[in-house]
Symmetry: C2
Subunit: 596 residues, 2 copies
């Protein structure tokens, strides 16, 4: 069994010491988000996730969800339903939602550590409440008044959950191909018909109603992505007065058998003349959906981080307990039959890689959440715009990198266990299987890379990149005389400068051949992730040195930063080399020659 | 469902065009191994694995093996037993075994493509016959005459299977800690008592007897790895005359629940006063076991290759069929609703990475198998010694790299499927789970790295490295005027030269601090793998150009080599950088500070 202990000390360090979130919240007018309240959220969140959710993780994996084909009802794994009731009762559901609809109105960044804890404790369970936030956002920003009045309160207090119904069997990334139809009725509602797949929490036994946000085509819709509208389709019909009525024409047709996240219900949803209501403008559904997707993408990035951390914690414990071989430089524990494997440099290489990626990612991910708050709530329009640009730039980086690193860290953690890592009872193989979904859903890594390079950099003239480069230069200037930071400043500056050069070079090439974007995108994204993490590592060391933490804490931050700069950041060499090689090595071979 | 088609054309290319295996077999005196016979083995092997084994792969994953706790009997998945009977009937079992014990006496390299096909078609099934080879080797080289007479024929003709019983709950890598006891009896046999874990094919329903090769301690054994002896312990007792008697005191106590290879029986084996016979000298069991392990390590490397290839084949088909988005450089199939995803550069990046790693690995792996034959059968003692040194050097490289690339290629293949890759019915997620064992068993990647750098390079003065460097320089000289090869020669020479420098530098540092070996080992191993693969890619292009293959074949080899040199070989930059950073960034942080 793998265990989980919320890393509260490092969470506080990231939020308060590095990001100064408590001071920012005050400036942004979140008067409720005092340090006391934030600490209480962290401590109670740790208690809930460690004692309620974490013990259900292996059970969810083993038992999964089950579908009653006769009724279309889905039963969640033992304990999931009760844990959800505790979640609602504890008021976790509306933590960062608007008070006018029953939420607690805390800033987004105040909920981000809780999100990480939930993901680490029980990713599959976390997917049930997760999508409610997307549905809430869509209705909040695009719904009519009556829709907000009727749907938001129960979504925010957790009585109901939400879904995002995008994918169809023949279209995932390419939503322009979707076929689900919406026929207008006489009462202003629409009749929705079609099949949606990969619907997370599409059906379950935790709440009395489920609110589906569904993309579909109106009869007069133009072809392609400009003919897609958004509808709200409740499982149980809801009147304009909020009264619930009969069962709607939507039903779970089957559950997918997946590599992991067995406890999460991944549903095929059949809409058969289901009553739905248009949300926002006709044919503008994709734009509304994208509003939801940005938050969802950050949320999936956090999933990668949470899994990495849980895997690391367990691998670390195992590496301290497992006695095997002597250190090559002489026995370190001569009184034991062998040394614990953490004495071996290669085990340390794997553990330190995890530690450096995790702690750096935590600051990166939490910072992105803070940008959401700044972009929404800053009184300064210029600051709002800058935060928005940086957030748009960082979202694909955080989503893709934190999930790719989630795959990598769970790989290293499993490897530390040797053959035992492959055995279910140790629990680390579940984390590796669960992590594997995160680079796929809410847009694969390749899609994030195109979003970053094609849209955020090339189409938007690199607004976010400029902000990030400015932050890097500011840090390098400010910290030039800080002995703990200064040794790494030349390398960070060099990488930042190469980042600009690579961006310009891709732009030049792309003017002649648009495939240069696609050919560079993945490596550009990873390059960006590593440079950004280098920035956050130096910010972390600077914050640690300036803090009241003890020496052991400061040494650990310094040594992990050193490892990052000497052993991880050089990965940029390969990504830069790949970008420089251009599109030709990828595009020359004919598609029918790949099996020659 | 994933499908499998044996890549016969590329297998033939590797064996005959690049390695000239048919001519080498003739020189080595394998008169039976004519091109006709070798072609028949390939074609019949393809038929057997494609039609018999491949369709059972998903069934094995779904149903797994089951244990009857009352009797200790293990039932294999539906169809496995019948497939094994066909395997025996087809004469596959003894393909490369000595004729004096009923084998067909073909060279080791003549069976290597069959090995790849079996692994690709059904890795879990392949683990049942696999370990018979190790047991055969151990008895052949270390057994007494009566042991060879009694055990070898049924192991070679497949009537019985074998196992290797090394690991115990508290010791895997560190066999010096093992506790299983062997008490001498009056009849010259020994009574074996202890618990072994992770015993592949330890119990099953395919054969009437199972021959366990077991490491245990004699009563007078010195502590540590110099007090371990090897015993042969049949499931059903066997007399010195070959007669089988009653059930021996060995029994499967439980089956492990694993991340993958569900169809493979991974057993806890309880030896409770089981009758066994000493194989070889007392206290010299570890050396005898290592004989078996080298072949087993190459075999596991081939597993990585087989899984990579199957995953690639399926991802390639999916990427040609799945229509999603338009090419950024303009619609490539305007008559279809969208372009197949293989038009997208990032999908091509993933596919070409697989193709370059797979085809290069095939030559590397087959060459190692050929070295086994040369080391055993060359009439020239100098050539035998050289082949042996190169084989010892290449074994950890091939084992670790082909399995790490197996994890990587199954990752890329799954990623090509997007969210569908995560769903069991497509079959690619099984390949990813199955691949995950290969970097663990028969020695983790970290252990291979220590074997390479610590033993093969540092202790043995780099004998094998010198041979490999000689081959590289010879190729570069010979191909200097070959237009298809020449552009890559400077890069290969530069990497080979850096390889030598890095080796010297590590040696210099290790003289002062033995942890420098462990700190460099993983990156040294991967560096070695990429340079070696570069060599095999240039050999492949040279062989292709000189062959009678059609232009499409030659273009594909040239383009894949180009991709390898421009997009994969630069990974050496990171590994070199890591080696140069030395041990300090790994070793400074105290073990108790990893969770600070």
């Amino acid at each position: 069994m793998s265990t989980y202990q919320a890393p509260l000390a490092d969470m506080r360090f990231a939020l308060f010491d590095v990001l100064g979130a408590d001071r920012r919240f005050e400036q942004l007018g979140f008067t409720e988000a005092t340090r006391d309240v934030l600490d209480a959220v962290l401590e109670e969140g740790a208690r809930f996730t460690e004692t309620v959710l974490a013990p259900l993780n292996a059970i969810g994996d083993r038992d999964g969800c089950t579908l009653d084909r006769a009724t279309g009802a889905v039963t969640t794994p033992p304990g999931f339903r009760e844990a959800y009731a505790q979640y609602v009762e504890g008021g976790w559901s509306g933590l960062t939602s608007p008070p006018e609809f029953g939420g607690q109105g805390l800033p987004h960044a105040a909920g981000i550590a809780l999100k990480e804890m939930i993901d680490a404790a029980n990713l599959a369970w976390g997917n049930f409440p997760l999508l409610s936030h997307g549905a809430t956002e869509a209705l909040l920003h695009h719904g009519e008044d009556w829709q907000r009045d009727v749907f938001l309160k129960p979504l925010i207090d957790g009585r109901w959950t939400g879904t995002m119904c995008l994918t169809e069997p023949h279209c995932g990334t390419d939503l322009g191909l979707l076929r689900t139809r919406a026929e207008p009725g006489e009462d202003g509602s629409y009749s929705i018909t079609g099949t949606k797949i990969f619907i997370t929490a599409g059906e379950h036994d935790m709440t009395e109603n489920i609110i589906h946000l569904v993309l579909a085509r109106l009869p007069d819709a133009p072809a392609g992505s400009k003919g897609i509208s958004l509808f709200v389709v409740p499982k149980v019909r809801v009147g304009r007065d909020g009264s619930t009525g009969e069962r709607n024409g939507v039903r779970c047709g089957s559950l997918e058998h997946k590599m992991g996240i067995h406890g999460s219900a991944t549903c095929v949803m059949n809409f058969d003349g289901a009553q739905g209501w248009l949300v926002g403008q006709p044919h503008r559904g994709l734009a509304a959906m994208f509003t939801m997707m940005n938050t969802a993408r950050l949320a999936v990035g956090l999933q990668g981080l949470g899994l990495s951390d849980r895997a690391y914690q367990n691998a670390l414990r195992y590496s301290r307990e497992r006695l095997q071989m002597r250190s090559l430089s002489g026995a370190k524990y001569p009184d034991k039959p062998a040394d614990p494997i953490i004495v071996h440099p290669d085990v340390r290489r794997m553990l330190l890689t995890c530690k450096a990626l995790i702690e750096g990612s935590r600051v990166m991910g939490y910072h992105a959440a803070l940008l959401v708050d700044i972009a929404h709530a800053s009184p300064d329009a210029g600051e709002r715009a800058q935060a928005d640009a940086l957030l748009g730039f960082m979202t694909p980086i955080a989503k893709a990198c934190l999930t790719e690193w989630g795959v990598e860290c769970t790989y290293h953690a499993l490897q530390c266990y040797g053959g035992h890592g492959y055995i279910a009872e140790h629990g680390v193989e579940q984390l590796a299987r669960d992590a594997r979904i995160t680079t796929l859903y809410e847009g694969t890594t390749g899609i994030q890379a195109l979003d970053l390079l094609g849209r955020k950099v090339m189409q938007q003239q690199g607004e976010g990149l400029k902000v990030m480069l400015g932050l890097i230069e500011q840090l390098c200037s400010e910290q030039a005389t800080n002995d703990a930071v200064a040794p790494y400043i030349p390398m960070l500056r060099e990488k930042a400068s190469q980042w600009q050069q690579l961006t310009r070079e891709i732009g030049r090439r792309a003017a002649a051949n648009a495939d240069e974007i696609g050919a560079a995108a993945y490596d550009y994204l990873m390059y960006s992730g590593y440079v950004t993490l280098g920035y956050w590592w130096l910010r972390s060391v600077a914050a640690s040195e300036a803090s009241t933490h003890n020496d052991a804490f400061k040494v650990a931050k310094r040594e992990t930063a050193r490892f990052y700069f000497e052993r991880v950041l050089p990965r940029t060499l390969v990504h830069a080399s790949a970008i420089e090689s251009g599109a030709a090595p990828l595009m020359t071979l004919e598609a029918d020659a790949f099996d020659n």
